[in-house]
């Protein structure tokens, strides 16, 4: 899972059945300082998040299928929470690279 920022919405009429009536949001992963990293993903939203929100994203297929209740399901990234507060302790040098990278 990683923390991201919703930076936009995606609209598609023609899509696979697993995505029917799902809200698709564009999420940019945040580094540990809360800055955008440029590493993005198109995620399915199940918590009524909107553009600008800081969100928690799961990027794993099996978890996504369980949340959405579909199997098979061709979905990997799901927004599962809206983040209020982050506390990072004992970090001497905070990396500004994305910390959860997948293709």
């Amino acid at each position: 899972m990683y923390i991201g920022k919703v930076i936009g919405t995606v609209v598609a009429t023609i899509k696979i059945s697993h995505l029917e009536s799902r809200k698709l949001l564009l999420v940019d992963q945040l580094d540990l300082k809360g800055q955008e990293t440029g590493y993005y993903d198109i995620a399915v939203d199940v918590v009524q998040a909107g553009p600008g929100d800081t969100v928690l994203v799961i990027d794993e297929g099996n978890g996504a299928r369980q949340i959405l209740g579909i199997d098979p399901g061709a979905i990997r990234a799901v927004i599962v929470g809206v983040v209020d507060e982050v506390t990072i302790t004992d970090v001497e040098e905070i990396a500004s690279e994305p910390y959860a990278v997948s293709i």
């Binding site: 923390i3 920022k5 919703v6 930076i7 936009g8 919405t9 995606v10 609209v11 598609a12 009429t13 023609i14 899509k15 696979i16 697993h18 995505l19 698709l24 564009l26 940019d28 300082k33 809360g34 440029g38 993005y40 993903d41 198109i42 995620a43 553009p51 600008g52 929100d53 800081t54 297929g61 996504a64 098979p72 399901g73 061709a74 979905i75 990997r76 990234a77 983040v83 209020d84 507060e85 982050v86 506390t87 990072i88 302790t89 004992d90 970090v91 001497e92 905070i94 997948s102 293709i103």
Partner: protein
């Protein structure tokens, strides 16, 4: 899922039997500004309606195969939708943090 631009088509008459009827397209992965990012690759078209020039989104790895009618197939990238519209937030909600970030270190504990 990531954005991609369809560049062309691939035809293979001899292929794994469960891939019969599946269309393959050449796609260029894009970054969030829809600029080319990385090398072009081959994706199975799970919408069956994408064509060259179109902006699509695609899912990689194991989930790519799950987008197709036959799930246990050797596919690692599939087109799952054709994009109509992308709306990027550029206002203050994007610029300003919407969550509170605390950085504590040993000194102020």
């Amino acid at each position: 899922m990531k954005f991609g631009r369809v560049l062309g088509t691939v035809v293979a008459s001899q292929k794994y039997e469960d891939l019969e009827g599946v269309k393959f397209l050449v796609v260029q992965p894009l970054d969030e500004d829809l600029k080319p990012n990385g090398q072009a690759c081959i994706a199975a078209d799970a919408t069956a309606q994408a064509g060259p020039g179109e902006l699509v989104f695609m899912v990689a790895s194991r989930e790519g195969a799950q987008a197709l009618p036959e799930v246990f197939v050797p596919v690692d990238l599939a087109i799952t939708g054709i994009v109509d519209e992308v709306d990027i937030e550029r206002g203050t909600r994007r610029e300003q943090p919407t969550a509170i970030w605390h950085h504590l270190n040993q000194d102020n504990d």
